[in-house]
């Protein structure tokens, strides 16, 4: 620990920490603009200057490591005057006329900094250079005239997300934020995650849909959870007048630390589907609006007699975008109450059933996403993390330039192949042989962390090469790279779990144990699962494959999900269809009864992420009049069938052996 003095106060901080960080840790705030948590300090804005005894001039605190006996002052008269002047220079650089900028009035860090330093005017007027404005991106606008060149966007694009699209072109006063080799943003390698927009301290990067909708200080911020996929990123929803104005990542959330992907940040704002606002019933072949009483009454009259009738009875299928509360009621009503054997989720256990089966035998074997933050080698098999579960992918991609090794294994080509240290394209269906082959190489070369007996290693390796079509050196290199890792992590996805082969998952666990990815201290094995509540569905036993075999009625709890072609096909012959959904679709066109329900943002509920975090989502906006929540509808149907929901989902989810360890966050 290093001892130093800041503003006369004796403080202690660990070695390697900057003066800015040490001050903050001890409750001393130094004004900043270009500094942002988790980003490498840049030292460009010069606002955080401090006076250090023995130094010739004031120096930026964000890039100055502490040393023993340092005496620092952060608030002298000279510093106050200097900061005011620095700010006036920043303002004079480009177009920083506040009146018509929509972040003026509380949402601009530059303006707030200047107010804080009591800057009232600029001694030097601007140079009146007009800088380019890029409006080619579908979701945001880049106005170089408002940019203070803090490089937060450039650093965020690289260090937080690993995409490295943004950069600075030219030098000095002519510097510009550009995409790639100065191409329009709309034609660049930008993956539309929006992290740059969230990081921008001024109005240089503006979100299109929320611009000019009013001051954020007049709006409400609600913390919630994204239901785009199983990662479970924390959201900060900006809400006004019962509308979500903008979706941001929650900087404080443990899962994503503020980062989001296109699917979480922008897709929900682009929705064009038509809302259903009244219960509907098919009368004389046509769907007509009816009262809730009539709709629910009819549902119960038709479905209750089918209870306990096996395959001549009813089937039920639910979307995993529904919160655990609703899924639990769904299961209790149809599986326990109506004793239906065909009660499952739209995912049909594809990402989870095999994991649950293995967990029944072995207990839990998966870790938390945080292991990716310290991993030095990641083996990614059967998953395309550049396309789905993208935030997990960011955690990998951003570490590649700073030394993380990536072994990418998949029969198909993918965007990460060119960044991977080793990319193996094995024949489809050869994953088990491949993993066994890797294990054999590791044991043969004596690289295993834990003992493992493999009777005929050469035969196993031979089989692996035969089945996968890979050459010996490629397989051996991959095995060695994983074995040599200090903190390895194995990530796998639907490419593996869809094969529903327990031996395959067990082999992965074996490889993880052999290489030390999983041991008494680390759990570096993760499966990406699927949708928001994949894990919850697995824990509730909603992971059967959906097969209609003469069932007389089907209840579809679709929520705000899409009805896939596969679902439509399987429901083609359903004699009677009840759908609880938010939006009109080809499925609702076929329904006999439609029960309108709220969106993800219109209901409170819990979601269990891919690594077992049980996270609450809040009701951010109210559903339209006449629309009820998923859970409320299921509860009412259950009550009317005299099968009221009694079980507590919190108890239920702990009853099934799971591959993940459940935790609060």
């Amino acid at each position: 620990m290093i001892q130093l003095t800041i503003n006369g106060k004796q403080i202690e901080a660990p070695e390697g920490v900057t003066v800015l960080a040490a001050a903050k840790q001890n409750g001393i705030d130094i004004p900043t603009l270009c500094a942002q948590k988790e980003l490498t300090p840049f030292g460009g804005c010069r606002l955080c200057i401090v006076e250090v005894q023995g130094f010739r001039v004031p120096i930026a605190a964000c890039t100055l490591p502490i040393s023993n006996g340092m005496v620092v002052n952060t608030e002298t008269e000279t510093l106050k005057k200097s900061r005011k002047f620095i700010l006036s220079m920043l303002f004079s650089e480009r177009n920083h006329f506040c009146p018509f900028c929509q972040v003026s009035g509380g949402d601009c860090d530059l303006q707030n900094a200047a107010y804080h330093e009591e800057m009232t005017y600029w001694p030097m007027q601007p140079g009146w250079n007009a800088y380019p404005v890029d409006t080619t991106h579908p979701y945001f606008i880049l106005d170089n005239n408002r940019c203070i060149l803090c490089r937060r966007c450039v650093r965020a694009c690289g260090e937080l997300v690993g995409n490295f699209t943004l950069a600075v072109a030219e030098r000095g006063a002519a510097s510009l934020i550009v995409a790639d080799t100065n191409v329009p943003l709309g034609e660049s390698t930008c993956i539309k995650c929006g992290t740059c927009v969230q990081s921008c301290p001024t109005g240089a990067l503006i979100d299109r849909t929320s611009a000019y909708q009013g001051h954020e200080r007049a709006m409400t911020q609600i913390k919630s959870v994204c239901v785009g996929c199983s990662v479970g990123c924390g959201l900060n929803l900006i809400v006004h007048d019962n509308r979500i104005v903008r979706i941001e990542g929650n900087w404080e959330a443990a899962v994503n630390h503020g980062i989001l992907c296109e699917h979480g940040r922008y897709d929900p704002m682009q929705n064009t589907r038509e809302r259903i606002t009244s219960p509907m019933m098919r009368k004389n072949g046509k769907l007509e609006p009816v009262s809730w009483d009539e709709a629910l009454g009819t549902v119960v009259d038709r479905l209750k007699p089918l209870a306990g009738q096996g395959e001549a009875g009813l089937a039920a299928i639910a979307s995993t975008r529904l919160p655990v509360e609703a899924l639990s009621m769904f299961k209790e009503l149809f599986a326990d109450g109506c004793k239906s054997q065909m009660v499952t989720s739209l995912e049909e256990g594809m990402p989870t059933a095999v994991l649950s089966a293995v967990a029944k035998k072995q207990g839990s074997f998966e870790g938390k996403l945080d292991v990716l933050r310290n991993a030095d080698t990641v083996m990614c098999i059967g998953a395309n993390i550049a396309k789905s579960h993208m935030v997990a992918g960011f955690l990998v991609k951003r570490a590649l330039p700073i030394g993380m090794h990536l072994i990418q294994i998949s029969p198909e080509a993918g965007p990460l192949d060119e960044y991977a240290d080793i990319s193996l394209k094995n024949k489809p269906g050869s994953d088990l042989a491949l993993i066994n082959g890797m294990q054999a190489v590791i044991v043969k070369e004596g690289l295993g962390r834990n003992p493992l007996e493999i009777p005929d290693m050469d035969a196993v390796i031979g089989e692996a090469l035969q089945a996968t079509g890979l050459n010996a050196e490629a397989l051996a290199q991959a095995a060695r790279m994983l074995a040599h890792a200090v903190s390895p992590v194995i990530l796998f996805g639907k490419g593996i779990t869809a094969q529903r082969d327990e031996k395959l998952v067990e082999a992965l666990i074996g490889l993880a144990r052999l290489t030390g990815a999983v041991d008494s201290e680390r759990a570096g094995l993760l499966s990406l699962k699927g949708e928001a509540n994949s894990t919850a569905a697995a824990l509730l036993g909603l992971d059967e494959q959906f097969v209609l075999n003469g069932h007389q009625a089907v209840y579809v709890a679709l929520g705000d999900d899409f009805a896939s072609k596969r679902l439509l096909q399987s429901l083609e012959k359903a004699p009677y269809l009840v759908v609880q959904a938010s939006y009109s679709s080809t499925l609702t066109e076929k329904a006999d009864v439609i029960l309108p329900v709220g969106l993800w943002s219109e209901q409170a509920g819990h979601y269990i992420s891919l690594d077992g975090r049980v996270q609450p989502a809040e009701e951010a906006i109210h559903a339209p009049e006449g629309v009820r929540s998923n859970a409320a509808v299921l509860a009412e149907v259950a009550m009317r069938m005299n099968m009221p929901a009694k079980q507590d989902w919190k108890v239920l989810v702990h009853q099934q052996k799971s591959s993940v360890v459940l935790s609060a966050n």
């Binding site: 006329f97 009146p99 003026s104 009232t120």
Partner: protein
């Protein structure tokens, strides 16, 4: 002792700062109690006294030769000169045309604009003031107090005028300081 004299005028501005001044409502009676309100664009006297005033308040930036004259006259005749509003302090909205230049701005406004009839010309009457780059007042004459805002709140203007009228130095910070 005679009450301190206050004079105001507007140049390249929208008069919004004066409207904000009027928004101080009945507190204007307190101001005229403390000071002698001399010339303003909205009262009968139109120029600050030749013998000088204590406080000169100017709204708007400097946009042409006529504005320059007003600014110089005010600086000469005021002991304390106050720049009122973003246009006076920074250049404000009119200063945006500096990004494209006087000629281009005139061409767009008088000739190319969609609402113009064909055959419109840029006015060139010799009696017209010559247009210049839009400038903040401090670029032309020294300013003693800058009061930013677009417009500054009535509270801020009341505070500044009453402080100056009582011989004190107004300090703008926290709620009183904003540029929008």
């Amino acid at each position: 002792m005679a009450k301190p004299k206050i004079s105001t005028d507007w140049m390249c501005g929208c008069a919004g700062c004066h409207m904000s001044l009027l928004d101080m409502d009945e507190r204007i009676l307190q101001v005229v109690d403390l000071a002698d309100l001399r010339s303003t664009p909205i009262t009968d006297l139109k120029e600050p006294d030749k013998s000088g005033v204590d406080v000169g308040v100017l709204e708007g930036g400097i946009n042409n030769s006529a504005n320059e004259e007003v600014a110089r006259k005010f600086r000469q005749r005021s002991k304390i000169l106050v720049a009122l509003g973003d246009c006076a302090v920074f250049g404000g909205v009119p200063a945006l045309r500096n990004f494209c230049g006087v000629q281009e701005a005139l061409q767009r406004a008088y000739v190319d604009a969609e609402s113009n009839e064909p055959g419109c010309q840029i006015p060139n009457d010799p009696e017209l003031a010559t247009m210049t780059k839009t400038r903040a007042i401090h670029e032309v004459v020294p300013v003693d107090y800058n009061v930013p805002g677009c417009p500054p709140d009535a509270d801020v203007i009341f505070y500044v005028l009453s402080e100056l009228a009582q011989g004190r130095k107004p300090e703008l910070k926290d709620d009183l300081l904003h540029w929008d």
